[in-house]
């Protein structure tokens, strides 16, 4: 049975091709059934493989399958090979599970869109690419999926390409990701030179002997991979594309830009744990980038007014937590947070989508309020998602986030712990600010909208309810912390970090957990007092610290900074080069050679008089000279 792993990504691929080519002539219900059917088959297959994995002894829990060589050149060869181990299993389940729910949700959300079949074809293609990414057994196949999901992300952000904002957001995402991907390509080439292979097993077996612990080569190689992860997973300094990606349809934001694709970077770093373990400097950098991103993005989220952008910044912040976990060596905790985050962030996005759907496209928080009374299911599930996001016990986010914070503290990164705890307070504040502004308090709706607010159709409510259930419960897979079923399942994949030796949580751990929980609660209470009790207070506060407020509101002017220091110099340089070097030097030399040839030709054409006797004379002279040479000198 292990020779059918390839079917997991292949089925959605077939679905995508079929829907993409034939969808225009099919009924919408058939399109939806095929696309959702492909997603659910992928989920069922993943579950079957998980069951098989669990029946194996803990140390030998992996299934491999090779479909034969893909690229073979001399000694070097890359196989079309798939690997199903606990890490891949969790990723495949999250991708296909959350993916299926979002497929179902899209049936309702995209109901009125005229490019219904294109949407589902792209969604299925994304699923296929993402599954290739997580099931690959070598870096090149992983990279194939990596670029594939990038392409789908681009196509789906720009799904409504008639809108200039959507088209340019897609381009921005694609270009920013290129920067990181270029680093990955360099890393992969170097990896071939070092190990002669890209196969995970071979690379991780050779790495400790080829690269000594703490060597510069190990650090640079792992940092090249991490550079790709900062692009794909929207970390400092390459996070800028993710907020703009919200121009895409909301199910896309939920699936690609919250639950799955953006976690590909986390997955790759976790997968490469044996490499990172050789480079303490890289791990330190990963942890700091993660911690700073978490704090930075959360602070921006405090003051934004677009419902989807707040959640987007929240995603960046939570991804920062994951990298923080990986960086301090708590790989399992990072992946655990990835899984719980997939549930509650998909839920938050889908609930936000339900609000946008009900309000006919309105995304501005200042024009919402009091929606709980008409959108009960949406409001309830959003509340659960918000609690999970804020890390309130016993919802999913609590268990995974606090484990990361504990790992940061236990590994001696006190400063990062403080940063993480502050972020927790900010998280509680921004997510409940969003909840209170949208669902509670007085209605600030357009009067003509307020009359006919209706809850979303069942195809949208069902995923909300299921994801809410998931957000409330998946955290228990990680209880007790660091030794729950989740960690025991995932444990054998990762190298053991020095501080993870003990399985019991010491007493200080409980204090730390409580501290983070209290921080989150403080944030929530602040949000309650500021936005529900006295709606005039935020403005007063903003008036008291105008510089701070404007800095946060304008997102630290990072986009403007990049515009000024990267985009504009680059395009100016490009224009200068094109005008001076390309036009003058390249075109000039080509044109120069051409006109030189023309000039010489113009001189030589005078020889061609067209006068036949002249030709004859020249032939005669030639013959005489030649004969003379032969007769007297030859």
């Amino acid at each position: 049975m292990s020779n059918t792993i390839w079917l997991i990504p292949f089925i959605p691929l077939v679905g995508s091709v079929f829907v993409g080519l034939m969808g225009r002539r099919m009924r919408r219900s058939s399109v939806a059934i095929i696309a959702c059917g492909a997603a659910s088959l992928a989920l069922l297959l993943s579950l079957a493989f998980l069951a098989r994995l669990l029946s194996l002894p803990a140390e030998g829990r992996f299934l491999r399958q090779s479909l034969g060589p893909w690229i073979a050149s001399g000694d070097f060869s890359v196989a079309f090979g798939f690997l199903f181990d606990p890490l891949s299993a969790i990723m495949a389940l999250v991708v296909s599970g959350v993916g299926l729910l979002i497929h179902v949700y899209s049936i309702g959300y995209m109901e009125k869109d005229r490019d219904y079949h294109r949407f589902f074809a792209l969604l299925n293609l994304f699923l296929a690419e993402m599954l290739v990414l997580v099931l690959a057994d070598n870096y090149l196949l992983l990279f194939l999926g990596w670029e594939g999901v990038g392409l789908c992300s681009y196509l789906l952000i720009g799904f409504w390409f008639e809108r200039p904002a959507a088209a340019s957001a897609g381009t921005k995402a694609f270009l920013v990701n290129r920067i990181g991907d270029a680093a990955v390509v360099v890393g992969l080439i170097w990896m071939i030179l070092l190990f002669g292979s890209l196969d995970f097993q071979i690379v991780f077996r050779e790495a400790p002997t080829t690269l000594s612990h703490g060597s510069v080569a190990a650090s640079v190689l792992s940092l090249l991979l991490f550079a790709g992860a900062t692009g794909k997973s929207a970390q400092l300094p390459l996070y800028v594309w993710l907020p703009d990606a919200m121009e895409g349809p909301t199910p896309v934001s939920a699936l690609i830009h919250a639950a799955t694709m953006v976690t590909a970077g986390v997955y790759m770093v976790a997968r490469s744990a044996p490499l990172f373990q050789l480079a303490p400097v890289s791990l330190e950098i990963v942890a700091w980038v993660g911690g700073l991103t978490a704090f930075f993005a959360a602070s921006i989220a405090l003051v934004q007014t677009d419902i989807k952008r707040i959640i987007a910044y929240s995603t960046i912040s939570q991804l920062g937590y994951m990298f923080l976990g990986l960086g301090v060596g708590a790989y399992a905790a990072g992946i655990f947070h990835l899984m719980t985050h997939a549930f509650f962030k998909a839920l938050l996005f889908l609930a936000a989508g339900s609000v946008i759907h009900a309000l006919a496209g309105e995304q501005d928080l200042r024009k919402m309020g009091g929606l709980r009374r008409s959108l009960r299911v949406t409001a309830g599930s959003f509340l659960i998602g918000a609690l999970a996001n804020a890390g309130i016990a016993p919802f999913a986010g609590f268990w995974s986030k606090d484990e990361i914070l504990f790992a940061a503290y236990a590994s001696g990164h006190r400063l990062l712990w403080v940063l993480g705890a502050l972020t927790a307070a900010g998280t509680g504040f921004y997510i409940f600010r969003l909840y209170f502004l949208a669902f509670e308090g007085k209605s600030r709706l357009d009067p003509h909208l307020a009359g006919h607010l209706r809850e979303a159709p069942w195809s949208m409510r069902l995923p909300l309810v299921l994801l809410a259930l998931g957000s409330a419960t998946v955290g228990f897979f990680g209880v007790p912390p660091e030794s729950g079923p989740f960690h025991r399942f995932l444990g054998p994949v990762f190298p053991v970090s020095p501080h993870e030796g003990g399985s019991a949580v010491p007493a200080s751990g409980i204090v730390l957990m409580l501290a983070a929980l209290v921080m989150a609660l403080v944030g929530i209470v602040m949000a309650f007092r500021y936005y529900l009790q006295d709606p005039r207070r935020p403005e007063a506060l903003a008036g008291r610290y105008p510089t701070l407020y404007r800095t946060l509101f304008h997102k630290y002017w990072v986009d403007e900074l990049y515009e000024g220091f990267v985009v504009r110099p680059t395009s100016t340089a490009a224009r200068t080069l094109s005008e001076s070097f390309d036009v003058r030097m390249v075109d000039g030399s080509v044109n120069g050679i051409a006109s030189l040839v023309g000039m010489v030709g113009g001189l030589l054409r005078r020889l061609q008089t067209g006068h036949v006797p002249a030709y004859v004379l020249s032939i005669l002279i030639g013959v005489v000279v030649l004969l003379g040479y032969l007769a007297f000198l030859g």
């Binding site: 054409r605 005078r606 061609q608 067209g610 006068h611 036949v612 006797p613 004859v616 005669l620």
Partner: protein
């Protein structure tokens, strides 16, 4: 009788004929006359071949002469046809007026 006329005599006559042909080609303007001069050159060569053939007691030269005559006959057909076509188009067979291939 064979020994009476030396080879050099044939060659001198042949060279003279060839030179007359060349000069005819170079200085005459009428395409028809040029054509005749070319025939003269061809026949000068033929004479050389035959003389050598006799002198060396080999039939090869005479065989080549037959070939040359056959080719010359074909060439005359083509050449006259071209000259007639020229005359029909330009009302003249003066080669100085034929400079269509001027660069």
């Amino acid at each position: 009788m064979t020994g009476t006329v030396p080879l050099n005599a044939y060659l001198i006559v042949s060279a003279a004929l060839f030179a007359i042909g060349v000069i005819g080609v170079l200085i005459r303007r009428n395409a028809l006359i040029i054509f005749m001069a070319i025939e003269l050159m061809l026949n000068a060569v033929n004479l050389t071949f035959v003389a050598f053939s006799r002198f060396l007691d080999s039939m090869d030269g005479q065989i080549i002469v037959f070939f040359v005559m056959a080719v010359a006959a074909a060439e005359v057909v083509l050449g006259l046809a071209i000259i007639i076509a020229l005359y029909r188009n330009k009302e003249s067979v003066n080669v100085d007026e034929l400079n269509l291939l001027r660069g």
